[in-house]
Structure formats: C-alpha cells, structure tokens
Amino acid sequence: MNVDIQKLKNILLSCEKPARYVGGEYGAPALKESGFLFCLCFPDLYEVGTSNLGIKIVAESVNARGYTADFCYAPYRDFGAALKAAGIPLYSLGLKKPLAEFDMLGFSLQFELCYTNVLYMLDLAGIPLLRKDREGGKYPLIALGGPCAVNPEPLADFADIVFVGDGEETDALVGEAYVRCGGANEKFYDEISRIDGVYLPSRTAVNYSPDGKITSFGGTTRVKKAIVKNLDGAVFPEKICVPNCESVHDRAVIEVMRGCYRGCRFCQAGFIYRPVRARSVQTLTRQACALIKNTGYGEVSLNSLSTGDYPHLKELLKSLKAQLPGDVTLALPSLRADSFEGDFTQDARRISLTFAPEAGTQRLRDAINKDITEEEILKAAESAFDAGYSAVKLYFMLGLPTETDEDIAGINDICAKIKGLYNKQKRAKPLRISVSCATFIPKPFTPFQWEKQCGEEEITRKLDVLKRTLKVKGVTLSWSDNFAAKLEAVFARGDRKLSKVLCRAYENGCIFDGWDKEFNRAGWQKAFDETGVRPDEYTREWDENEILPWDIIDVGVDKKFFAEERKRAYGGKVTGSCLQSCKGCGLQKVCPAAGGEK
C-alpha cells in the first residue's frame, strides 16, 4: 500500500526543501508495478543523489527489461524525524511506495562516510538492519553497489547481495533470476552466485586469528567484478528526469570513457574501473543531443576520470559544438594539467580552474606515479591565464608514502611560480590561488593498499609545516578533517568486525558523516570505545603476506602488480600511462589498450 499522501502533505511544509521529497520530476518515467520492484537508494541527499549517473544507468537497464526501478534518497534529519513522528515509512519517489514493499533495494556506495546513512534509510523504512534479522522473505533483498562495493566487508552483515563492477547488466540479471525463480529462494541464490559481479556475503565465511587478523575465507572465496565489454553499445539513459531542486551537478552528463590509463598509485578509481573503455564520438554526440533536448539543460559535462586522455577529444568537441544548440556550454571537469589546452575551455565562463598536482615536489609526484612535471603544470596555468582565468585551485595530499617536509614545503614553490607567471603580464584582476589539502587515505586495490595512514598528530604536524612554509600572499589554504579521513581509511580497508561499530555509531546519532557540519566525532569515538574495536588496527601498515578483507573480490588487477608498483613508488620510479605501453596489470585479455578486446 502506498504512503498516505495527505499525511505526507501535513509534514512536508515543516521541513527544509520539501521539493526533495515529492517526486513528480519532469522526465521521470510513469512507473508501473511489475514482477520485479527495485528501488535504487542513494544514501545522501536528493541534490547529491540526483547528480549520480550510476544509479540512472542501473535504473535504465532494469526498466528496459520491463521491470520497475524507482528511486529514494536519504532524507535530511528534519524530514527523517518528521516521517518517524508521523509514522510514515520511508518511501520511493516515483510510486510513493514504502521501501519495505519492494523486492530489492540497491544502495549505491559512493563514499565510505555514507555507510551510516544506509542504516538510517533502512531504519526509516522499518527494515531490520542486520541480514540475520530479516530471514523469512518478509523484507526486500538489500543490495549494495557503487565504487565502495569493492570492499563491502564493513557492510557485509547488513547486505544480501553486493554488486561489484559495472552495473549495466548485473542488477537487471538478478531481477530476471528473481522472477524466474519465484523470489529469493535457494535456487535464486544459486543462480545469481554464478553471475560475474555478484557477491553473496552469506556464502562466504571469514575466519580470524585471536589477534583479529584474517586467516582464511570459507565458502565462496573469490568473486569477479562485472565488466561491460562494449561500453559504446551499453545501455545509457538518454532521457533522464530533471530534479525538482537544484542538484550539485545541475547539468547533462555524458560518460566519455570508463577507467583511466594513468595508474596514480593512490587512486582507487584508476584501478577498479580498469580496463579503459571509450565511447565513440558518434554515440557521445547522439547522447549529448538527446539529453539536452530531453532536459533543457544548458551545459553538458564530459565525464571520465581523465577526459584529456580521450583519444578523440578534439573531434568530439567539434562534433558537439556543431550539433548542440549554440548556447549550450561544455564542461570538462577532469582534465589533467598536461592535457589542458586553453581552447578546450573556451565555452566555459573564465573564472576558476582546478589542477591536482597532489604533491609539492617532482620526487613525490614520481613516487605516486602522478606522471606530471612542474613544467606541465606551469604551462597549463599559463595557458589558462591567457584564456582569461584569474583563479586557480590546487589539490594536494598530505601524508603520502615517502613524504618529507621538503615535499610539503614544495607546495609553496609551485604557488610562487604560478603567481609569478600570472604577474608576468598586466591583468585585470589579481590572481586568487586556493590550496586544498586532503589527508592521504590508503585504499584497497591500489599499490598503496598496505600503507600506514599517518596518525592525527603527524598530520597536524605536517599541516603546521605547510602553514609555516606557505608564504605566497593571496593563497587561501583549506584542509580536511583528520578524524573523518581516518574513518574513511578504516571503512575503506575494513572487515566484518566493523558492522557493530556502524550499528553503534548510528545509535549514537551519526548520519551524514560526509558533511562537515554534521560530522559527529564524539559519536564515532564512543562507538569504537563501546565495541572495543580499535581504529588503529585498520590504519596501520599491513604486511604484504596478510590476507586482506577485500581479497575476496577480484577486480582483475593482480595483487602482484600492486606490490611491484609499490616497490617502484619507493624507488621513485614512474610507471606511466597504459597508452605508452601495456604494464601488464592483469587485465590484458579484456583491455582494448593492450590489444585484448577491441
């Protein structure tokens, strides 16, 4: 039974931005109930979730098979409390159906600090959090997906199914099996366990030694991620709904490529989305034109992990400019400094440009395989200034493996050189430089997956070094919260012991942990204290021979490759782009760049 609309109306106006909670967006498909009701749940606010392309792709593939894919986003605290007080269960936006009445809920995990929001949404839906409390088929299947699903272990006790890898087909295949098997019975689980990209946590046992380290896995011991071989022909939503209220990326998005050729050693996305697959200019132009026609957006964003590496970028820009309405602007949000050219961005308003040197010296940039020189950064900045930009944002990381104080002091040198370049000519506005520093987080499936994360004291000291050495006038410095970064590392590399911490943190009021103003440090510390789980166990350096919690997942890149890359990092050796030569990461057979799949 759908939610009582009148009851809902009574609470909407007491909450901020009620448009988040009413659905009825322009372009939203008229949903009908079907043999498989799937609700894509995004554990963050509507404005964030409606910007996510992944859930739209999954929904498109499910709807295309004649099933039903609806959406739900995490309500902000005010609406969540109002729902509870009014006795209204959390519902989907399209059908206005309580989440508990769906066949499957799919949570998209974009970020480790959204995990408590998964529990928050289940709780608001009246669904028991733990899998063991949901037995008997009374509740929907709880599925997880998205990039964080490559190590789903901290959430393994809550989930029935984990989707690992590309979502173009896997979710829909599970839907087909659900209908074919007549529900979530043993036959269904047997069938879906054979699909690439489906991990069933209940069918894997994790055995620990007395000191808490993993000794072995039982049951299913290896799950391969799903890989879409033909991205150009893959399902893509050309007709999307336009959010009711402004979303964080309020524009049309085309996915130019999936994966990245570069292999920066800290970057999880650069490895888990391998192999690199690109769409054709023709397909991308068609998709962009359809999106603009169907949405009325005034901007198209060309998304990928490194759009400058798209082999046909100039041809694509030419094609888009020729075929899109004249006032539609193009955004290229992920250009590397070495691929930046002033004419790429002629469409955009010339104000601010963001570069990510990540480290202050060439030595450290080589160690992290950023594969970019200072000369390239400066050339890109000069090119941007000549194109009219008067503000530069620079992203760096603190606490990278092998980092010294000299590397930190190097950040000032880059800023000074950039400012010097700007001031070489007389310009209308003074230059604004923003330096943004994030704490390094050792992530699974990267060459740095075994690294220790710097402790809070050490990061604070490094930050002090930066503050002391950053002397260029007009530079504003911002940095991330140390404890939040630690938490992100803990849950990125976490295991099943963390489920009790998550439960306790949620009980302590921790939700929206990714939002600075909502971050509840005391609630988290209490949760660790109460459960006896030590976060430092997860941020320590791990031995390369240890069994890692995410060893159960096979993203296709060899563990040996990561270990070799780690050695090269300590040797200060750059590995370079896959476009130059194949580095033998393990995906050669399916990698177009390596001559595998064409």
Binding site: P18, V242, D250, G296
Partner: protein
C-alpha cells in the same frame, strides 16, 4: 516579449521560487522557444516572474514574461515541455516587460477548513497585529482587501508589494484565532494594471 499566466499546482507547489525560475527556463529551452540573454559576464535568459509564492500554496494566477520572439502557439509549446503543475493558462504578446513583480497590487485566494466566523466584526476591528516571517509586528487589517465566506470556503484578497501579507501567514492567524485547519490554499487571481 511574451507575457504569460501560468499555474503552480500539484507537486510544483513545493518548488522554491529560484527552482521555479530554473524550471521555466528549461521548459522554454525544451520547447524550442529561444529567450534573449542579458548582457554582461554572467549572461542569463531574460525571464521575469511575479513575486514568489510561499511554499505549499497553489496558484492558477502566476504571471511571467519571457523576452522572446515566438511565432507559434506559446501555450501549446510550453505545456508540451513543462513539468506537472506548471502550465501556461494564457498568454499575450507585449512590447515591453509588464513587470508583474511590481505591478500586481493584490491577489485573491481560496481555501477550505477555516471555522466560519463573522467577517464584518473581524474587519471592523481597529487593528490586528501578527508577527511576520522576519519577526516584525505588523497590522494586517489594512492589508486585507476582501474577505468572505463562499459556498466552497473562504475567499480573500491580500495586498502585494510593500504592503504584502503572505496568504499562508494569514491562514495560520485565522486558524489560531477562529479554529480549523486551512486546506487547499490556492491563489486564483491577481489584480494590477498588466494582468490579463
């Protein structure tokens, strides 16, 4: 320039004014109606709407204008591309911006759910003070143009502009003073020199 009267009903009553402006802009883009842009660094389409309607209040008497030359049936094109609840009800071509935000003097609203009371006695009061959204004390009697009970409920007209009285605040006051709960609050007409 085209001046148009449009509705804001159904789920659209929860859209903020800024979001509404974005939706009107995108509707016109989807409809293929080319709107002229402003000059300057941050160019934006020249679309002008009347003053914001409070969240949760419906309307079939919103007015807007778009700086465009469109030879076809504007309402048909707009409605084929607009979100549910935002529909063009009528339109006229005009030489200059009707400036609805400044020229609409007062608006008429209907609502149900308020416990009946003696209107004459209430309007006869010398002054009735309420606290507005900014916490200021304001006398509402001079801001009420008309107030009457009809067969379907309450009909009232409230001033706009500098003497503005929000219809939702007025209803909250009536609920507190006379009882009941206002439902289906709807703006049904606007009064001013350029409305049609």
């Amino acid at each position: 320039m085209i001046a148009f009267r449009y509705s804001k009903t159904d789920e659209a009553i929860y859209l903020s004014h800024l979001d509404l402006l974005r939706h009107v802009d995108r509707t016109l883009r989807r409809a293929g109606i080319k709107v002229n842009l402003s000059e300057g660094f941050h160019r934006h389409p020249k679309i002008f709407l009347n003053n914001p309607l409070p969240l949760g209040v419906g309307s079939v008497a919103e007015y807007g204008a778009a700086d465009c030359e469109y030879g076809g049936n504007f309402a048909e094109a707009f409605n084929a591309a607009s979100p549910a609840g935002i529909k063009c009800l009528s339109y006229v071509k005009t030489d200059k911006n009707p400036n609805f935000a400044n020229t609409i003097e007062y608006c008429g609203y209907t609502c149900g759910g308020i416990t009946p009371f003696c209107v004459e006695k209430f309007l006869g009061e010398k002054s009735v003070t309420i606290t507005d959204m900014r916490g200021r004390e304001t006398d509402i009697i001079p801001k009420i143009v008309k107030l009457e009970f009809t067969q379907s409920g309450l009909y009232f007209e409230l001033k706009c502009g500098t003497e503005n009285l929000r219809p939702d605040l007025f209803c909250r006051f009536l609920e507190a003073r006379f009882g009941g709960k206002a439902v289906n609050l709807l703006k049904i007409r606007a009064f001013g020199q350029n409305v049609f």
